[in-house]
Amino acid sequence: MRRNFLRHLAISLSVVAGLMAANTQAFAAEIRVLNWQGYGTDEAWALEMFKKKTGISVVHDYFNSEQEMLTKLRTNPGAYDVVLINSAFTGQAAKEGLIQVIDTSGMKNVGDLSPNMRNDASLVQGGKTYGVAWVWGVTSFAVDTGDFKTIPDSIEVLWDPANAGRVGWRDDAVEAVQFAAIATGQNINNPADFASIRAKLRALKPQIRTFWSSEDEWNQFMSANEFDLATYWSGSAARSKTAFNLPVEFVIPKEGAIGWLDGLSIATGAPDTESARAFIDFMIDPAFYVKWDTDVGAPASANAAANAQLPATAFNRTAFKDPARVAKIQFMGPMDDGLREKILELWQETKTYLLD
């Protein structure tokens, strides 16, 4: 009787141990990614493709602003493996010790990245890679082609009295100030003349219909005709056209636009660095990118080989053809906290002025 009991106990213990081992194995092959929602890394087909290839499953957490992303990294160390960081913030994240140096040896697609993006001064510091260049694009505006028979080519169309009450604007202090900086012909990363920016932003009062804060919201407002032209991101405009069939056209105006480069980084204390590296390598693989841009819509890839595989008519191959326009794009650079707080205060003051 007693021996029997012991044998039962031994069997059940080994079953439990086996289950636990299987569990930890399954757990090890799972990485956590922090990104904007609907921004490539969480495409269901891509995750299936990646799992088939490597056996690694991917779970996501999202942010709605770069500051929220940084706060999440600061307050939850060890919670994330891969994180998407706008290169303008990579330096700050590295300085605060939120992300780790990435060993790019053995990542087969890194060699195909455009050298100027792979070695971007924000992503690679002191010869150490803190972020792998992933995609880049511009922040500008898009118009409803039903309302605009001729596509405008000046940023002033946002301030045109003819478009009063028809403009959608992203409720983001830095972006708002940078738009005004471009319209007033200033450096977007360190504008000298805040007074003219303040005046330019106040002039938006009759123009703005509403603020938007996420791509999903933008699509809803545009399809409900809440606005006819709105500030937007180039990759998102491609998605609105391809995936949501909205009649919109993205404009890179003659005054210039805000350029950005998004990199993928590995968080400090990431539970699974190896899988994180594999995921980043997959994200810059042409096999993923071409399908993403063709079926869904994406910003331009930092991988030259991937861009070259797009159809000749793709937005990302045609939009940046005119060298004079491209030269006018100002890329977002790092900004210190003091300037950022000053910009937020200016924007909040402006929003108070914008109230009826």
């Binding site: 929220e68 010790g97 409720d171 703005i208 219909r209 809440e226 906290d337 009826d356």
Partner: protein, 297 residues
């Protein structure tokens, strides 16, 4: 038993007095400890933050300062927005009272039986859905070409558009819908407790319906009205999600400004300071109301 042994019960009383205190402590202790941990600790941490120059995380250095509080008094737009938030709080509370009180009265005094249960369910039902979902459903109703405009145009041809979305009334509408159950439930409880005999006596002595309402029902229901008003006013003053979604360009309030300090820039100290200024002003409003509240209750 107690009558048969009076002395025994006397000593027992002092023993039970002590053991009762122990029992009360044992029973309520965990709850108070829990409250202290979950409310007091985070709140005092935020109070501490509000006096710092930076968030002390990582290698950031922070010194004690009053700058965050000074910012509120130096920048006029903070004051403008604070006033706007309080106005919103008053208006939402007012509309909740105007629409909620009659509803509570009808529920308590007119309707009986199953239909009352059904109506209660309808009032509480919105509470079971997520607040964000409720507000987003309002956007579907209010937006141009939305449910409301469609039905109005169907009823009245050539009605045109309402342009309600992204306006101040849209925020009021969303907030009143979200908070009115508090008013209905608290008023219901106090109206329910009013003895029908009192109302009948007043009527039989010749009081008009309006004076019955003004001189009997409202004074007797005052505890419910006050409880409901406080439950609504305080959260509405600090609301940020509803104004942001329904208000569009008109959706800037002190609550959204505080939210931005936490999400758009990493300036927790300023966000905390603005929150505590708001809390202080709410307490001032309640303190001003206190004598009036005491008089009627």
């Amino acid at each position: 038993m107690a009558v048969a042994h009076p002395q025994a019960t006397d000593t027992a009383a002092s023993v039970t007095g002590r053991s009762r205190r122990t029992a009360i402590l044992a029973l309520t202790g965990p709850a108070y400890l829990w409250l202290a941990l979950t409310i007091f600790l985070p709140l005092s941490a935020m109070l501490y933050y509000s006096f710092l120059s930076d968030v002390p995380i990582g290698d950031r250095t922070a010194v004690l300062t009053l700058e965050n509080y000074a910012a509120f008094f130096e920048k006029e737009f903070y004051q403008t927005l604070m006033w706007r938030s309080f106005r919103l709080g008053f208006e939402v509370t007012f509309y909740c009272l105007v629409f909620g009180f009659p509803c509570a009265y009808v529920l308590a005094k007119t309707i009986r039986g199953r239909s009352r249960e059904a109506l209660f369910l309808l009032i509480i039902l919105p509470f079971w859905s997520n607040a964000l979902v409720r507000i987003f459903s309002w956007t579907m109703v209010l937006r141009g070409n939305g449910v409301l405009e469609h039905s109005l145009n169907w009823l009245i041809p050539e009605f045109g558009s309402l342009n309600l979305m992204f306006t101040y009334p849209a925020i009021i509408l969303g907030l009143v819908h979200s908070y009115i159950p508090y008013m209905i439930l608290t008023c219901y409880i106090s109206i329910e407790a009013i003895d029908n005999g009192v109302i009948e006596a007043a009527r039989s002595l010749g009081a008009r319906r309006l004076s019955v309402l003004r001189r009997i029902i409202i004074p007797l229901a005052m505890p419910g009205i006050i409880a409901g008003s406080i439950l609504i006013f305080v959260p509405v003053v600090g609301s940020f999600m509803e104004p942001r979604i329904l208000g569009g360009r008109q959706g800037t309030f002190i609550g959204t400004i505080i939210e931005d300090q936490f999400t758009a820039v990493f300036n927790w100290p300023l966000g905390a300071a603005l929150s505590f200024i708001m809390l202080a002003l709410v307490l001032v409003v309640l303190a001003i109301m206190a004598p009036a509240i005491k008089r009627v209750t």
